[in-house]
Symmetry: D2
Subunit: 367 residues, 4 copies
Amino acid sequence: MAGSVFGKHFQVSTWGESHGKGIGVVVDGCPAGLSLSEQIVQKYLDRRKPGQTRYSTPRKEADEVEILSGIFEGKTTGTPISMVVYNTSQRSKDYSEIAEYFRPGHADYTFDQKYGFRDYRGGGRSSGRETISRVAAGAVASEVLKSLGVTVAAYSKEIGCIKIDETKAELGNIMKSPLYMPDLEASRKAELLLEQKMKEQDSVGGVIECIIKGLPAGVGDPVFEKLDANLAKAVMSIGAVKGFEIGDGFAAAKSFGSENNDAFVMKENGSVAKMTNHAGGILGGISDGSDIVLRAAVKPTPSIARTQKTVNRQGQDIEINIRGRHDPIIVPRAVVVVESMAALTVLDMLFVSMTSNLDAVKRFFYR
Amino acid sequence: MAGSVFGKHFQVSTWGESHGKGIGVVVDGCPAGLSLSEQIVQKYLDRRKPGQTRYSTPRKEADEVEILSGIFEGKTTGTPISMVVYNTSQRSKDYSEIAEYFRPGHADYTFDQKYGFRDYRGGGRSSGRETISRVAAGAVASEVLKSLGVTVAAYSKEIGCIKIDETKAELGNIMKSPLYMPDLEASRKAELLLEQKMKEQDSVGGVIECIIKGLPAGVGDPVFEKLDANLAKAVMSIGAVKGFEIGDGFAAAKSFGSENNDAFVMKENGSVAKMTNHAGGILGGISDGSDIVLRAAVKPTPSIARTQKTVNRQGQDIEINIRGRHDPIIVPRAVVVVESMAALTVLDMLFVSMTSNLDAVKRFFYR
Amino acid sequence: MAGSVFGKHFQVSTWGESHGKGIGVVVDGCPAGLSLSEQIVQKYLDRRKPGQTRYSTPRKEADEVEILSGIFEGKTTGTPISMVVYNTSQRSKDYSEIAEYFRPGHADYTFDQKYGFRDYRGGGRSSGRETISRVAAGAVASEVLKSLGVTVAAYSKEIGCIKIDETKAELGNIMKSPLYMPDLEASRKAELLLEQKMKEQDSVGGVIECIIKGLPAGVGDPVFEKLDANLAKAVMSIGAVKGFEIGDGFAAAKSFGSENNDAFVMKENGSVAKMTNHAGGILGGISDGSDIVLRAAVKPTPSIARTQKTVNRQGQDIEINIRGRHDPIIVPRAVVVVESMAALTVLDMLFVSMTSNLDAVKRFFYR
Amino acid sequence: MAGSVFGKHFQVSTWGESHGKGIGVVVDGCPAGLSLSEQIVQKYLDRRKPGQTRYSTPRKEADEVEILSGIFEGKTTGTPISMVVYNTSQRSKDYSEIAEYFRPGHADYTFDQKYGFRDYRGGGRSSGRETISRVAAGAVASEVLKSLGVTVAAYSKEIGCIKIDETKAELGNIMKSPLYMPDLEASRKAELLLEQKMKEQDSVGGVIECIIKGLPAGVGDPVFEKLDANLAKAVMSIGAVKGFEIGDGFAAAKSFGSENNDAFVMKENGSVAKMTNHAGGILGGISDGSDIVLRAAVKPTPSIARTQKTVNRQGQDIEINIRGRHDPIIVPRAVVVVESMAALTVLDMLFVSMTSNLDAVKRFFYR
């Protein structure tokens, strides 16, 4: 019921505020025997760290993770893994102004309505720093998945109106682009767009695509616990995500059955494949063995320097200028967050799928 | 863990196959004291009943609901409400053909992979008839919501490439259109498209929009249990839905911060409102008091009469012609299903929101 | 959240009232491929059927189960199994009297306080008939367990002050005793006690013991999800159960460490065993491979014919004589209910245990 | 699914090992607006701190709690409260011996069977230090309950064979007894028993009783989510607890209906009461407004200095002498743990009960 807990088997409980003592997560339900260390988790966290390009907030944070429990002699023990990133840059600056009004596009107003008041320092619990917990937990899930042959990879597909050209996209390019775009030409165009919008004190959105490879067929449950439904919830739970697609998504709505159906075909090795993948790897909510393809629409950063209209807590119409420098775009830093949420979801459902078939259960216990 | 259970407070457990004895649902967690009868639930079910227009399957089913428990003297007792719709048209026709191959766009292959075999009669558990349970449960949720001043209404926004003209749309038109479109001119154009595609033995998809009015601010939880995340899961769990948007959705990704932010403004009655609603009524995962607006992309019906390529269980490439008449479009019948899933979600989260604030909890117990 | 749903993996949703149309259950999460039929489930239900001995209510109910979904060609499909037992003996007798007051030891008063009113016909939802759903679901769980080599067996250990003599108890006797006692001499003594108390218009309680054999070591989770904690909840959720023990239970509190510790010892076949089983087969919440032994204390039937003091809904002190004939003891009919709850719990936790160890998970997916 | 998460509304996620960096808990779902500080939580923790009497382990631990999130200006914000107690006394002593064998009565063997290996330093995750998390979370729950007029109080009722005399027991005495017994004469006798058993290198168990006052009628759900069933799970999840009773518990099994039924009676103020409380404040799983009375049977500490038989990881029968000084009895330090688990359970179910009645829900939203 509580909002900061995710997953059933592989269960994650997150905590922390932007300007509190730190941000953390407890991962419960990770199988025993996985090699894990702070170095491994740190690699994932570094991909969302601020201040790495001129397109992200210059807030100075090392975002170094410390593991407090659940590891013994370099391996997970099967008991809860507690991880924390202490905040180091929470200067005791004056937040009295921001405390007094509701920033457009932010959760200030809704937090006040829900709880009666809010920790207003830097966004408090609704700050983007909350995603540190998701990435740390997602790192553990990704490592488990890797050991089972499943990989999850995301990238920026669109930045504002700039879209990658599929024919020029290469996964190897992602880390070369400051915007995590697999098409470097598109990446350069997107940088120009960002420069312009930064000058205009404005912000930009985009679309993130995520591909899951190696997932066996049979993962996901019919009716309410469809794999795509769970992925949708996981990805839509990331702040700033306003839309979700699996496979062809909204384009499927404009397509016809004769175009949209993926024909099955036998592969030379005797396995079943599909000639196309409009479905995005999921049929009836269950993985079909082809790549899972999903997309998230990310809104432009709500914190912009331009003058904006809003109201204050005293019920007056006012104009505000949000100070400080903010990310002109969230998309690149959100790439690893989408990946993390996808990994958490897929792993949880993979575990659940182990009991679908009585013969498989028997084999497990009578091995 | 099991796939056919939905919700936490207002918990729904569904069962049944297309050609089994019936389809049903158990609703647990409905508050005591709601007026409820088979007549009330039937009204919702009639909106998804087959055979009402030439654009839906002519399968003859009265789809009459029977309530087996949980009602006493016309009111819910707070204990489980069991509802069943017996199947009447499950002719013992020969399904041996369909049993042997995997229909493109259907869950035949993934069910076989997951469970080892499947009830192949008419789609079994992955049949669209499964949504009867959703609508029956959604009817109860909608009635509870109505008593609390919250309404949920959905309609067809796009059929294939035909889109409603917002300036001509009127909610009053929805029931006048065989396609549940609020713009009757668009509805007529869409009918022409459907006629043509039916001749071509093809099928059509579309977009459903749903609007929730009257929901107080403060519903939905931060982080993983955001209201929009839960709505996404609920709606994406409907078979054939491939995309989900809240507010401006994917358009927000192409928008700039200065355009996408909704300015707050004081209303004459002293309450806070927003000048626009790009956010779709949710900020930081929490309702802001304005209308909740969501959309679902529905793929074209996978069952088409045209010759299609696929493989059979023996691992041979074959060509098939699916016999029988199927819905050339699912969208209109899915409208009430989207509404139902939205109602189930919103009610559950409304209940959860009752404990956000200690003062409100105290008022409840010390009244 | 809703009270009538049990389990996580193997999830059970029950419904129905004593004098409504029927009593039923939906079982979701049963693996595909289990042989199941109405005949199999009926055998379990027959053990709790009323009217079989002079020590149970003579209410005439065949309690015949009908399976409505989830079975195809004699096997479970992995989708929800809906089962119903229609009530046949719910005579429209006059319940106006019982509606007006609160029976001591029953849930009349608490239902009224919780819901504002109640379905007062024969106890409504709080009737013992509710356990039909538990037994039907437990039958399915027991069959799955059996296929995995795990058996669950319960019997009456004490009836009032009459206790079985362990040296004379044989499991083979259980079905020969009308009270399901494994010591036939104790059974005869208990029958005499019951005859006497029936004459005195009084009722008797007792203790049920349940033994689970064949459960592998490693089932149950540390901290909150201990196997014994879950068994305690499951068994204490049965109406009339007032106490629960695992292994030596309350006797352990009077024992010393040197007596209560079970020494480990090597068996000839090279496996680890314990020399004694004071722990009841669970150490640190996790099964240790020896028999699981638990006990439930059952209170005497609250419905007695003697004059009792109580109050009515008008707030007056009154004296009542509950009419009709009731079970003078619940224990024998509750034996199969305890067994069912134990089976549901153990199966659920057995499934959960499949992901404790990464090597085992790898073996499952890379088989 | 994961074993270290408790509760639905008020959800608690615990972590940490005896000799790791620390022990902690994340509390999610606490309403906003509760006054909370480290001082408040510390008071509860001090009651289970080691080394306070000669009857507990002399391990030197300050057990000082630090709150890392969820509090702003002295009040809970409604977001997760992260609390940690760093271990200060985890000397890097040689654990290689203990690593090699399975201590009787401990979870060494079952952890190895479940996970393949274990963090053997001081019991790792199965150490009694795990209960620090329970007490810290329970402190928050108790404070919320207090603000709603509900109190939870526990004490030692039996130490070995020494039982308190109800006529001499006074709640005011509890804190005066080193064993938390409300009857000081019994306390002195129990001290003598402990002295003797300590000399004999043995350990002692006992019974803890807990009383919940001020809980309104109507809390708890029928069927599986009965209040007593949830209390049983919560209390049985505490390591070393082997039995649970509500009200008369096992004594009720030997009682007759005419003795065990609690007659209802009108009080002068016009409210309904019971003349006796054999039921322990719960009828049909729902609180009836009288005191909730429960008991837990605690086994003697398994760590004793005497020579014991066991086996080692190499599969050899061996004799061991566990070194170091251990608690000769767990009961007194477990008193506040039982209280904590009861508070967590009651608060969660109190929240759930808010939606039982539609009229009450309407009043909440239309206030």
